[in-house]
Symmetry: C2
Subunit: 324 residues, 2 copies
Amino acid sequence: MHSLKFLQQFISNAFSDAEFVNEPLQLYEPIAYTLDIGGKRLRPVLVLMSCDLFGGEINKAVYPAMGVEIFHNFTLLHDDIMDNAPLRRGRETVHQKWDINSAILSGDTMFVIAYEYVAKTDPELLPQVLNLFNDTARKVCEGQQYDMNFETKSDVVIADYMQMIRLKTAVLIACSVKLGAILAKASPQDAEKIYDFGIELGLAFQLQDDFLDAFGDTNKFGKTIGGDISTNKKTFLFLKAFELAREDTLLKLTNYYCDKEIDRSKKVEEIIRIFRQLKVDEITRHEIENHHQKAMDIFNSLHFESGKASEMIGLMQEMLGRER
Amino acid sequence: MHSLKFLQQFISNAFSDAEFVNEPLQLYEPIAYTLDIGGKRLRPVLVLMSCDLFGGEINKAVYPAMGVEIFHNFTLLHDDIMDNAPLRRGRETVHQKWDINSAILSGDTMFVIAYEYVAKTDPELLPQVLNLFNDTARKVCEGQQYDMNFETKSDVVIADYMQMIRLKTAVLIACSVKLGAILAKASPQDAEKIYDFGIELGLAFQLQDDFLDAFGDTNKFGKTIGGDISTNKKTFLFLKAFELAREDTLLKLTNYYCDKEIDRSKKVEEIIRIFRQLKVDEITRHEIENHHQKAMDIFNSLHFESGKASEMIGLMQEMLGRER
């Protein structure tokens, strides 16, 4: 079993070795820039680790794994246009550094490149791999649409939110681990199960992201606290708080969210105080733990050589324990 | 051999039978709207006709053929955002009728749907089909980037322009006929040749489009005359005129293109007059004929049952003789 560290280095090298710059430069420079920012490469590592878990050769999974990562970065690029975000991972977004047209077209091209990498698969497995990838890509688009709809929809409930993050975030995590299983020729039953494992892991991962926005340690989290709060984003925390708040607290919460004059840091501070008062922090932790446990239960029902579990469990810890 | 008319009806029925509306409606309504506008469905008809030509079953080609058409419509949708175009085929563009975010995300989703249709291919042929489709999609993006670059580039020459339309327009026509050949299990030699045929046909088709912008009959062409001229688009006609104009004529041409105060219809009229004076109309006709002839020569070297040529020749006539 390859270590998490080895797989991270392996995928990082694969990206360093790949050449994304080409003619016309105006098209390819934003792509190279986007893929150079890096990030944790969680999804391709999940592909490789799942492949390894089921006894597959990681060399045969590296291109499809890169395809998943390129697809993920394409969605971030287009999402950043739609969200009008100036920064991503501390660097200027493509539409900010270049322009919207560059961001649209470079994104489209990244999407094609993602398919090119996915296509570098054992021909025998290609139909299955391509169907999984298409299904995932469509769901991620649907998730992004629901996320945008929620901005103006006033009656969003937690069930809607969970469905949205399932589509927008969890299915790509699930796709990653299932892809690894398919490439390792795991049984269809195990491939389905590890997909469900990925869904639970993905839900926990997104809820953790929501949690850290309010309760994380800025130094370790790498983002400013309260980004979701100050933009009135309808996260799990927000929806849970509105579900639980009564009378005075509900009034205060509503006022803080509607008041456009209020100082940003005061708003963040006050809302976090209300979250704590309503025990939204504990409830969210519990919800994360719940999905983490479901993921573990599915994981433990999979068929792989004993002694191979530790690296995946370590990666789950890393994904879900980023504040610790 | 199926007739052109039959194949047009066949593909039109296939689109009518397909269901593109789904949840979330905000995502899928713009897609259904875009695909409902229709157009001539030239590319999927080319797929089916090429498949039929090489003795394949059109039933097995209909989904990939639809994939090509959906991809084409996706590129138009995103191009319209980039070009800030308010109308397409006489109807409001998606970003105009909805908004830019809808147009970006619905476009992305259409791209996925295109791949879903392409994936509905004989598994044995899928690797070849997918590689062709990826290669084509990437080149179309490159072509669009060159087209955008040309807007601000002052030293564009005809060779640059021909390379741009090869990428932006001709490769998708070439992909269509090659796809039909692959699906009919034509020989690799014939598949390559019909691709080259498609390139020549595609170049002639785009040059014809340029020609009709200045010299077409509005009633038959379906567009306003002089659209390219009034937007200073660097078409074959524009570049050829600047290549040939000397002294007074060059000065006049430059003035008309730089003068922002000039009345639109006067500008179009005067520039068409200069085009005629420089024989740009004859030269363009000759260039179209040249690529048409190259296409015919390649076509005549293909191996298919005698008596099957007439429908493809008829379609070429229709594509290249839209003013007649």
